[in-house]
Amino acid sequence: MDFTLALLHRHLLADLGSLRLTLARLVVQPAVYLYVFGHVVGGMLTGGNGPGYAAVMGPGIVAIAVMTAPFGAVGGTLVSGYYFRTLEGWLLAPVSLRQLLAAKVASGVLYGTLSATIVALLVWAILGLRPEGLLLPLALAVGGSAFFSLLSLVVLLLPATPDRGQELFSFLLMPMTFFGCTFYSHAMLDPPFSQLALLLPTTYLAEGLRGAYAPSQPHLATGAILLGLAAAVALLAPLAAWSFRRRLGDYLW
């Protein structure tokens, strides 16, 4: 626990040290998306103030935050730790690989939840939308952050070298961002795209958040999404632990 808190503190200090970059990533980038796509484009689509499209894409932007923040906090720090050798310093700390893995995932969950909260506040401020309750979006943010933290480890560590891991990571990031029902709802898609979208984890997260923001709008069943998310985290955790041990237990990476 001490190690996890120390590592979280380290990540927060490092981000505070580059405050402008952190603010750009956490606030400016999603705010621009929300303004351009939610306010301006949404307004044009509806010929008025555009609450319809805004209600579709607002939760999608929160879902993108839940995906990208853990990718940066877990996968990003792992890769930069490899290139700058900070990772070697963490591996030399007197903790087990399991503790290091847990600390990394905890930082991913913290960053994902924090980032989702900031974007949710921006959605409220720019689009005037807020969820009907807090429990469902919080569960989706925490569960989604855990899932994407584990996924980033698997994607980065399965290939033999970090550069190949990064290639795979970049290859997956684009479809998950744009084809995972973030800028449109699943109900707007026709087959086969509606079926293909079901292969992407962001689809479930964005649809779950739509259920939290506007339960009366069409969306995938939130109960099934929460169960699926829990199952996905349970299945991915041992695979991430195995990849972590395989690459870092014998530090050839």
């Binding site: 190690f3 700058f84 050798r85 310093g89 591996l91 700390a93 007197p94």
Partner: protein, 240 residues
């Protein structure tokens, strides 16, 4: 008890490169052992095995009586490491690097805070304490890494070319710190290119060449030191 014991240690890399080929060595507690070797001889691989970062392909290793593969946490708790390349946290200041190193090791602040100040002073890092690592010269980064190695009061120091890039005055301070560490009962495993450093500090020296330990010599007594026994051993072992 021996501080380091290895028997028939082999380490192969993917692609078939054999970096260590049957290394057997015992380093006694309280000893300063110097490992010499040209680039690519296998010194850093050997150090990575001792410090738990790499697993042996074959053979047996014990560090302070423990298996570095199966009891890695217990081994890491008792060693201080200066790797060959900078592994400092570039995004933090010098002081934060030292503090987080102690926090990762689970030390309470009341214990590590005075130690951090002490090592900042000892290695003349105090004026740079609040500078980020990225702003430091290579020599200053080396000093921060040395301070880290000493901070957690380890029983064994594993140093991979610890004074490379340091000016003579700081090098002398580091040597004094290493000698004082040994006087308190600590063990030092030191890899170096610097024959003078090995001669001055070490009780014994070994030469690693093509992954094999070619020669181990005792350096006790001034006569042996002035005879440049280390250089002779090194030249004999690598055939130059």
């Amino acid at each position: 008890m021996a501080a380091i014991e290895m028997e028939g240690l082999v380490r192969d890399y993917p692609g078939g490169l054999r970096a260590l080929d049957g290394v057997s060595l015992t380093v006694a507690e309280g000893e300063i052992f110097g490992l010499l070797g040209v680039n690519g001889a296998g010194k850093s691989t050997l150090i990575k095995v001792i410090t738990t970062l790499l697993r042996p392909s074959a053979g047996r290793v014990r560090v302070l009586g423990r298996d570095p593969c199966r009891e890695a946490v217990a081994v890491k708790r008792q060693i201080g490491v200066v790797p060959q390349e900078n592994n400092l946290d570039n995004e933090l200041t010098v002081r934060r690097n030292l503090e987080f190193h102690c926090r990762y090791a689970g030390l309470p602040r009341r214990l590590f805070a005075p130690r951090v100040e002490q090592w900042l002073e000892t290695l003349e890092l105090a004026p740079k304490a609040d500078a980020r690592i990225m702003q430091l010269s290579g020599g200053t980064r080396r000093k921060v890494m040395l301070a880290k190695a000493f901070l957690t009061a380890p029983r064994l120091l594993v140093l991979d070319e610890p004074t490379s890039g340091l000016d003579p005055a700081v090098r002398a301070r580091v040597w004094a710190a290493i000698t004082a560490f040994r006087a308190r009962g600590g063990t030092v495993f030191l890899s170096s290119h610097d024959l003078d450093e090995v001669e001055r500090l070490c009780d014994r020296t070994g030469v690693l060449h093509d992954g094999r330990l070619q020669a181990v010599e005792r350096l006790a007594g001034m006569a042996a030191r002035t005879d440049r026994v280390v250089e002779a051993t090194f030249r004999r072992a690598v055939g130059t």
